[in-house]
């Protein structure tokens, strides 16, 4: 229910989104442009943006469509990229008691890395207005993302190939990856995932799936070898 307090939290969330806007807009445009660039129709490209609504998964699906992977490989690989949302969902749910089902379903649909990270910081500050703050930042990010996607879908072809704008994808992922490498097990998972995707060429474009599984296996194995390197999951 939109009480005055909730309204205030909603607006605070929307404002908290502003520092994230440049990165989100740029990445959204690149995702839209990439989808349209591999020959998906504007409708399909935009469907990726609002149905999947997760940049890294959209990029993976786009690359696999372009590589001619079977449909089930696209769905499975794109979904594995998004498994992390289950962790976020479990953490967020603890702060969503007393909300309506509609509010929780909306929160689920809008859940992203950025909205989760900023909301978690507010949780650690001891604030109680978490659900509406989250909805404020997540919905604002959603609007930015869709506008950026549409811009990328319709204007992406105007950017000359010599600008190598596709490399923004790699740099965005580097920006997300670097802060994750807090201990040796996480670094080892990353290194083995990267090496797997370069050296292990599998049929049906299953490389990314293999990289995720091998990387996770290496990380867990090292965590057992060096229990000290375990960080709070």
């Amino acid at each position: 229910m939109l009480t005055p307090d909730n309204r205030q939290a909603l607006l605070a969330g929307a404002r908290a989104c502003i520092p994230l806007a440049p990165g989100v807009l740029l990445f959204g445009m690149v995702c839209g442009a990439a989808a349209a660039g591999v020959g998906l129709t504007p409708g399909q490209s935009f469907a990726l943006s609002w149905l999947v609504f997760a940049g890294s998964s959209q990029i993976v699906a786009t690359q696999l469509f372009a590589a001619g992977a079977p449909g089930w490989v696209v769905v499975l690989t794109g979904w594995v990229v998004n498994l992390r949302f289950m962790m976020y969902s479990a953490t967020l749910a603890q702060h969503f008691r007393g909300t309506t089902r509609l509010e929780r379903w909306l929160a689920g649909y809008l859940l992203t890395d950025q909205a989760f990270a900023v909301t978690l910081a507010r949780v650690l500050d001891g604030r109680k207005d978490i659900p509406w703050f989250f909805l404020g930042i997540a919905a604002t990010l959603w609007v930015f993302w869709q506008v950026a996607s549409l811009a990328g879908i319709f204007l992406g072809a105007l950017v000359p190939a010599s600008w190598s704008i596709d490399f923004v994808v790699a740099l965005t992922f580097i920006g997300v990856l670097a802060p994750l490498l807090r201990d040796r097990a996480m670094a080892a998972a990353a290194v083995s995932g990267g090496l797997t995707s370069v050296y292990l060429v599998l049929p049906l474009k299953l490389n990314l799936m293999a990289a995720a599984l091998i990387g996770a296996a290496v990380g867990i194995a090292l965590e057992k070898l060096w229990p000290k390197s375990r960080s709070g999951a």
Partner: protein
Amino acid sequence: MAEIAIWGVIAALGLATFATRLSFLALLGEGELPLWLRRILHYVPPAILAAIIAPQVLAGAPGLAATLDGPRTLAALAGFAVALLTRSTFATIAVGMAVLWGLTLVQW
């Protein structure tokens, strides 16, 4: 892939993603993520992010004969350093692209 199959794949990926996001929110935190699953979920993001990044700094296709692309590798390393220092995705992109364009301009 046929037009209709592409739509099916996008819809299936969208639904699977939504179900994953909604999972514990729908249960209202009554459920707990088992430890083994939490372990796997903890290590999948770095593995898959690195797996997406790595082929993009190669000069050609992945495989045993893969070689690095000079400008892209250096741009990626510069971006990585900026990401560690600033934690800003935008600064990472800005510096990485500047390095890539600079090296391309001087005809690496």
